[in-house]
Symmetry: C2
Subunit: 179 residues, 2 copies
């Protein structure tokens, strides 16, 4: 699928489902899973939800606005570990509620922007890799969500890496991103 094929309503259909999907996976789950990581320097599901909240606050919609404003300066770099301080003292349920609220607001703003095919080709400047289009930004927002959904599932699965015994041979997720 080429970049021109991104359809706003399809991208939005995924973006609007992520808070419920992440909530359904995690809400009320024992800490054994919520706070598990894949090893040193990796994130727990709790950390991931905080990171998704950060992205809603300072990353995706902010950059969409930036592109449509025609501002030639690079985007403000996104702090991908901001949640280690921002989530402090917050429960998972609070983070999930905040994520759902901010995502809803940001999608409403995206719908209000109502970018047409031409707008999806408008460009902004990424601080690391230069020129990017609005369509690429929106596709990246979607894929970023899904990457973190998969990360949550993978991190939870690895809690049982030993518990599955010989079934490990059939459960490839236990080997994904093994360090």
């Amino acid at each position: 699928m080429s970049r021109e094929d991104l359809r706003l309503e399809e991208a939005a259909a995924i973006l609007e489902r992520t808070p419920a999907a992440v909530g359904a996976l995690l809400e009320g789950l024992p800490e054994t899973f919520v706070r598990a990581t894949e090893g040193e320097g990796t994130w727990s599901p709790y950390d991931v939800v905080g990171h998704l909240v950060s992205g809603e606050r300072t990353d995706w919609i902010e950059r969409a606005r930036h592109i449509l404003s025609g501002d030639p300066r690079p985007f403000t770099p996104f702090n991908r570990t901001a949640m280690f301080t921002e989530s402090e003292g917050k429960t998972l349920a609070e983070l999930l509620a905040t994520f759902a609220e901010l995502r809803g607001r940001n999608l409403a703003e995206l719908q209000a922007m109502n970018p047409g095919t031409g707008d999806l080709l408008r460009t902004g400047r990424h601080p690391d890799f230069g020129e990017v289009t609005l369509g690429q930004l929106l596709a990246a927002w979607v894929v970023h969500d899904l990457d973190h959904v998969a990360q949550i599932a993978r991190t939870m699965a690895k809690v049982y890496a030993d518990a599955v015994g010989p079934w490990a041979a059939y459960l490839s997720i236990l080997r994904d991103r093994r360090r």
Copy 2:
């Protein structure tokens, strides 16, 4: 975590959430994502839901029963591609509803079995790798769910593999299980 550490209520907490998580990800989503695959010989999210339904019908709880019955014969091999015929003519919404219903029933049966620590160490015979415990079976059931949740997210993400442009460098899910 060693196999003895599997706690039934923790495993059940994940198993009971999977239908809602998969439903939240997929229900009502455009066919572009629901029917996407990762390439020849790989499964779409629609196929995966059908496979999860098959597992509820003929795999996991059936094998738990088998172990607790003390039957020394190997488990009946599980047909992991049965859904290609079983799902025929069914909508995704129907498959999701069936998955939720069967999972609920199977979890109720698991709770009724109420296996204690000793029961989790009882063994059965897997047709491929021989002796396995009930605890390993239950852990594998959980990890199998999560493997398929991650697969659904990864398959959907890859629809936008090109659409993300240079962001691909930061979105590792686009390279996971690349063939």
